[in-house]
Symmetry: D2
Subunit: 355 residues, 4 copies
């Protein structure tokens, strides 16, 4: 109810602040007897760690995950899986100056308004560091999806105005930006360097592709699969827009263009993005999110202090130039969590389909 849990049958609860003792996640509802090792989770966490991609912040977040419960002799037991990541290399001194100032583009103002108290160190609970819990839980969700041969991949479609011109799946893992176009990746790198020098930051677009999703996942009406996916993705701090399939493009299509014809082999195109009426149709699921620029910039900004007095602000310290590509595994995690949840929900109904 206070917003720190997500999902129904596969349900996660994250906790922790940027500069507190630790962060973590409790996963309730993971089915029993699935092989699960700390290495599998660590691998995903390493993908969102700083130092992934040019222009990332130099903070050394070791981010070593511990499995504290729910796994016995290498297999899940059906009981809650508690994952813990201790905060290390925490330098909260540099935030002392931000104690009374509301940073533009951050949630300092709104947390103060809501709670009347806030942990100002590094954004506290509102920090992007909160996403370690999501990524750790996503690693478990991916294990569930793998049982059904489902796979989630996020890649960069646009960064700082530089768009992808072609898609080569092999390239995604080869460059720092998870960019499927190697030429665009090079331009992105230059752009990042340039913006870094300016003390500014940039946004972009990430696309998420789900392969192998069977038909039947998703609930009608409110818990439509795309509705839950939209919520999951929009709950990532930097995301300001979500679209599925043809997305905003549908506004300029006619019905005869937009409808995907069906043939004996299935859908003949995929402008629906793999979901019809809230339920997966067996085609690939395709989503895109708009990622805003990192709000912490070195350039001078106008803001106010807690007494609403004007203040001029330059944010020093270690900050990424873009949330991309570190946000990509977070997008994957959220999509995987939604799909694992709906997979279990659908299983309950399949079983229930008595003759």
């Amino acid at each position: 109810m206070a917003g720190n849990s997500f999902g129904t049958l596969f349900r996660i609860t994250t906790w922790g602040e940027s500069h507190g003792e630790a962060l973590g996640v409790v996963i309730d509802g993971c089915p029993p007897t699935i092989d699960l090792s700390v290495e599998e989770i660590q691998k995903e966490l390493d993908r969102r760690r700083p130092g992934q991609g040019a222009g990332s912040s130099p903070r050394k977040e070791g981010d070593r995950v511990e499995i504290l419960s729910g796994v016995f002799e290498g297999r899940t037991t059906g009981t809650p899986i508690s994952l813990l990541i201790r905060n290390e290399d925490v330098d909260s001194g540099s935030y002392e100056g931000l104690k009374d100032v509301f940073r533009p583009g951050h949630s300092d103002f709104t947390y103060q308004a809501k709670y009347g108290i806030r942990d100002y160190r590094g954004g506290g609970r509102a920090s992007a560091r909160e996403t370690v819990g999501r990524v750790a839980a996503g690693a478990v969700a991916k294990k569930i999806l793998a049982q059904e041969r489902m796979e989630v991949t996020a890649y960069t479609l646009e960064l700082g105005g530089i768009g992808v011109k072609r898609i080569d799946w092999e390239e995604i893992g080869r460059n720092d930006f998870r960019c499927p176009d190697p030429d665009a990746a090079k331009e992105m790198e230059k752009k990042i360097e340039k913006v870094k020098l300016q003390g500014d930051s940039i946004g972009g677009i990430v696309e998420i592709l789900v392969r192998g999703c069977p038909p039947g996942l998703g609930e009608p009406v409110f818990d439509k699969l795309e509705a839950d996916l939209a919520k999951a993705l929009m709950s990532i701090g930097a995301v300001r827009g979500v679209e599925i399939g043809a997305g905003f493009g549908v506004a300029r299509m006619s019905g005869s263009q937009c409808n995907d014809p069906l043939g004996s082999m299935g859908f003949e195109k995929n402008d629906a993005g793999g979901i019809l009426g809230g339920i997966s149709n067996g085609a690939d699921i395709l989503l895109r999110v708009a990622v805003k620029p990192i709000p912490s910039i070195r350039l001078e900004q106008r803001t106010v202090d807690q007494a609403m007095r004007p203040v001029s602000l330059r944010i020093e310290g270690r900050h990424d130039v873009s949330a991309i590509p570190r946000i990509n595994p977070v997008c994957e995690a959220m999509v995987a969590i939604v799909l694992a949840d709906h997979l279990l929900r659908q299983k309950a109904q399949e079983q229930g389909r008595w003759k």
Copy 2:
């Protein structure tokens, strides 16, 4: 869990099929002692009825709402409010021919895959008619918001490629399209007529504006206000994309452009769309949704029957050319429901803020 409920403290459950006996909604969690009349709800329902706007379907949905519980002597009692709308003028004979065919762009295929049974008459539960329950509940949510002087308005920003060039708030109520630009409204009307003759359909973009929202609404992390709004809007059948504030535009902004500076009077611009870190900041909330063309068209389409044999299909019968503007009150309703819910959630925490 089966997806027919929405909200937490203000929680609605809708039920009913397009051509069944009736449709309705149960609202649980409406605070007591609020004045509520059947006329207030009926007024909202009338806004989404057919015959609203050019190009709408001629079906006479009287859509008379009954209040069956939860209101005593004109005021809410805190107990569940049950609202009922009987289906009238139900002509299900025309659907007999669609019994075994999967209409492109509809959820016929996916419902069959999920449930192994479907009420094929008019789309059954997947029909846009399901939204009467949403609009009825939205009327109650709006009454709650009105207590705090909050107001939700949806208007048409684009239809069939025709965009709004200027915004005149007074115009919205004056034309059939809820279009704030009277010139664009005229062009939209011509476009609709043309597409109607072609037997095709068109999509567009709707913007939703919330005035008067106090700071502090929304929960951090997963139940961010924009996340719940995104889910609410994406759960409307025709919506394929949702964005807030600058939306997808953030992808091409720098941090120094995107951040909203703060002055002693508050935020100096509103690219955030009224929400920071998942919590309302006191500025207007601004959202946009992409609406796909109505999938039911008279033009011939390729599809398959339940045995996956190719079939050629022309959909006759009464169908709108666009979901706009009848979808606008549905968007308003969903946004109002999310805000009423988060208003109550925040009240619980304000009360709880002990010294």
Copy 3:
């Protein structure tokens, strides 16, 4: 959140007041393709109608149920099932005198304290009439249980101090009290007549037996099967105590007496009442509830009006002498609803048990 819904995968929401337009229930999560007729639901409703058993109130509640959604051509579709029962023969005039008085043993005082408004006619939402929605939903839950050959039976163990001395299963359906001991049933009848003449009322004990429950239902820790059953039964207005298996008797047992030994054929006795550690063990589930006397009595009582001024009160009108046996089908319904929910929850996990 406002307490009118129950269950998770099989979830019901009831609504309606004693003297309002109608009462009803929405069932979300009923699996598709189950045969369901209005007669099957009506049959259960008829069992809780007045005129069932000696000493029941003469109000003619026709209680005709309508299925408004979720059933197509005689089978469930997986969409919400909305059931409606119109209030007939509503004589609210007799309640006019109770408008300003708090009846002892009723919730008049607490509703006023909580909501600042109350529908005083017949107890409004707090009336036992609210249970029609539960019984209607229970009829659907029983259909699900029947698919797995599970059966729920409630019978009277004690009434007004008259206890059952032997159990003859055949007798339960043969007398007005659902009493498995025909001699006790006769004494109960005399007792009821006597108390009726006195203008007083009596309580008793109901036992609920579940046959055919497979092992594995129930969740560990908080959603233990007995915990959900206790909540379900304690949520019935007249119930003041719940026990399972040996129940309060365990307080005077030793571990060596209380533990049920296991043999190659299963459990050798059943003091556990069919549940160990929150999970069904395959034995019969056995529960007992304490039912308080009907609080509406003709005898004079001391109470206060809304200004807390002392008032002397005699409650005239039609009232049962005991909630037993009309409460028995309500107990059955609640137990069936809990079991149907946990059955679906367990199915989701069984499916999820990958090798």
Copy 4:
């Protein structure tokens, strides 16, 4: 959904196994700005530690709690509070022999049936050790209740057949059994010693008293205050029965005896146990639970192994003779958690009561 969370606005999720790395709880929904120290939580944990009361097991559970999040500069921030207790002194070797055997009275059989895998060491998740998370969360709930001057106390009413004859509130804290009758306490001590020598165990009855509860807490229909309390208490492993106020005694009362008359000063007696129609009435809340004997006994028992072959079993190792009095703080914690949750729920509605 998998049963490891409890509550709605004040929601806890516990995790951890008896012989795993650690146990803990995440509390979501604690209001901001409440003073909270690790010592306050530790104090409650110390009350449930072994070595509390005669006949308790000698295992040294240090049970040192760490606050990992949600508290900043000594006050709650409104974000999730994560509490961790590392397992120390874990001797799982002694459980090796129980790997393939189902202990009578334990959930070994049912966990195996449900999950197809189980952590057999000390009962794994089903161990009473799971309650450390509950007690830690209860300490936080008590802080919330204290803001409203509400207080929860559990004491022993009966142990091994020895009942309390008089109640002296001062005595509860003075003896090992939290027994309000010093003479009974002495007899209980003798009884415990005797049963210990026999290698057997005993049960009893615990009463829980809530002082200072304002009227208005609790929701009608399903989430009645007594229903949530019954679930909370029945979810404690050893509890087999729950009653409120006159409890099972109501079965033999007449309505004129059972109803509590109202006078200008409030209720004149309290057979209702402080709750009417699911809502607190301002009187003390009074509950009783039946506690079964500890199932682990040294006496020989008949059981089976995983292949359902008969086995003779003696359980050695460190085990309490009775769950009383260590279960008392667990009962207090669960009641406090329910009340804190309903207090916040009621606050949301009070706020919502607009004129």
